[in-house]
Amino acid sequence: MSAATVTPRPPRISPARLPVSQLLGTALQGPRARLLRAALSALGIAMGIGAMVAVVGVSASAQASLLAEIDALGTNLLTVTPGQTFVGANEVLPDTSVPMIEHMQQVDSDAAVYQVPGANVYRSPLVPQSETGGIGVDAAGDNLPAVLGTSMASGHFLDAVGDRYPEAVLGAQAAGVLRITRVGGHVLVYLGDTWFLVVGILKPVLLDPSLDSAVFISLPVAERMFQTRPHPSEIYVRANVSAVKKVSTLLAATADPQQANGVQVSRPSDALEARAAAKGQFTTLLLGLGAVALLVGMIGIANIMVISVLERRGEIGLRRALGATKRHIWAQFLTESALLAVLGGIGGLLLGAGATAVYAQAKNEPFVIPLYALIAAPAAGLLIGAIAGLYPAMKAARLSPTEALRAS
C-alpha cells in the first residue's frame, strides 16, 4: 500500500497569504511589545532628521525674513550711475539729468546724490588729517530717505535750514565711526575747515549700503563751500510698479542723451534677492552633521533589528510552523524596521519644526518650514528604515524553522 494509490489526488494547496493590512499589524507587534526600545531606536532617526529639518527651516525662515524686508522696501527702486572713461576715471552725469528724469511719465519720485570731492569729516580739528575713517561726503536733496525707503535713527534729515547753514546728517556706519549715537544737544563735526551741526543719523540703507558710510550735507552749502558742481554721482528713481522694466530701459538715454552707453542702470533689489537666495541655501556643513546623526540612527536601528531577530528566533520558528513563508518573515522584519524609522522621521520633523520655531521667535523672523520637508522627512525615514532592516530581515527569513523552535 502506498500513499499515491490510496489517497485521491488532492486539490491544489491554497497558498499561505499575508495581506498588506495584516502585515502592518504584524510588524507593529514587535515594537509594541518592546516600547522603550522601539522609542529609543526611533529617537536616533528623529535626531538626525530633526537636525536636518532645523537647518532647512532656519535657512528658509532667514530667507523669508529678508524677502519680506525687500518687499517692504519695494522692488521698484532703480539707480542711475555714470560709467567710467576709457582711462578709468569716473564720468559724471550732466546737470540736466535730474530734471529730465523727473519729466518721465512712469517715474514716481527721485533723489540725487552729489559727490563732494576733497571733503573729509573729523570729530575735531585735532584729529590728524589722514584719519578720515573712510567717510565720504555727499550732497543730497531733502527727499533722499523717502526715495530710499529708509528712515532716521535719530533727529531729522536735511531741510530748508540745511540749505543755508552748515548742517550734516550721518549715515549709520559713519555715525558709528565718529562715535555719535544720537543727536540733540549740540553735536558738531569738523568738515572741511568748518563746524557742521549734526541734525540727524540715518538707519542703515538696505537697498544701497554704500550710503551708510557717508555724511550728507545740502547741495547749496556744498556748492558754496566746496564748489561742488551739480553733476549727480548717483540718482535714485522710484518707478511705477507696473513699469519698472520700461523705465529702466529708458533711464540711461534720458539721463545722458549724448553718452547713453556709459550710464549704468541697476535695480538694487535684484542683488538683495540674490543674497536672500544665498541665505536660503542651508549651510552644507550643518546639513552634513545632520546626515552623520542620521547615519548613526540608521546603524542604531540595524543593530536593534539584528538583536531583535536573535531574541525572537522562537517567534520566527513559530510563525514558520503556522504557515509563514520566508518572504512573509522577511517582509515582517523589513516593515517593522521601516515603521520604526518612519515614526522617527515624523518625530524628527516635529523636533526640527520646534527648533525652527524657537529660533524664528528669538530672531523675530517668520516661521517657515519648506513644504518638501513635510514629505521628505518621513520618506527619508522609510528609506533609511528599509536599508537598515534589509540585512536583519534577510537573516530572519533564512533562519531554519526547526532551529528557531529549538532555540527557545
Binding site: 500513499a3 488532492p10 511589545a33 514558520r320 510552523a321 504557515g323 509563514a324 513563508t325 526547526t402 523552535l405
Partner: protein, 224 residues
Amino acid sequence: MTVASSLHGVSKEYPGGVVALRDLTIEVGEGEQVAVVGPSGSGKTTLLTVMGTLERPTRGGVHVTGYDVAKASDRELAGLRAHALGFVFQGFHLQESITALDNVALGLLYTGQPLRQRRETARVALERVGLGHRLTHRPPMLSGGERQRVAIARAIAKRPVLILADEPTGNLDSNASAEIVALLQGLAADGATLVLITHDENVARGFERRIQMRDGELVSDKRQ
C-alpha cells in the same frame, strides 16, 4: 484507509554527520491517534518536523495529507502548514504581549483571513478548550495548563487535518498533563489525526497506537 501522513525510507542527516532518522517507514491513517515514544535523542522531534514539513528529509519520500513534500515548493509547504497542520510545542510558544484571543488568532494569520474573522474563529476555539472566560488574559496571567490550552486552541482553530504535538505535557504536572492529553484526544477525534511525541509512558498508555524509537530507528509499532 486514507493516509494522513506517510514516510517511506526516510533518513535525515545533519551537517557534521549526525544521523537523526535512519530509513524510517511509517504510515498514519486519517483519524488515527499515535503516540511516538523514545528516550531523548532518539529522533522523535526530527520525525515530527519532517512530518510537519518544517524540514525535508535527506533521503526518502514524505507525503502529508496526500501532498508529496519533495515535489512541493517552500511556498506550497507553507500553505499546507497554514491550512492543514496544527503544531503544539512543549514550550507553548505563545506571544506574551498579546491576549489569549490574539494568540489563537495568530494561528490563522497566514490563511489571509481578515482579523475580525480570525478573532471570531479564535473565540470559538478557546471556548472548545474551556477558556471562554480567559479571552483577554495575556499568557503571563495564565497557569501552565491554561497556556497549553491556548496553544492547543491555536493549533485546532484552523480545523487541521493533522495535529502534531511535541511533548505537550513536558512542562506540566501530572494532573494538568492528563487533562491536556485528554483534551487533545477529544479534539482530534472530531475529524483530525493526532501524532503526539512523549517520553512519558503514562501519557503514551492512553493511545491506541504506539511507535517506539531509539537512535533514529523504529523499534516497535504496536496497535492495542
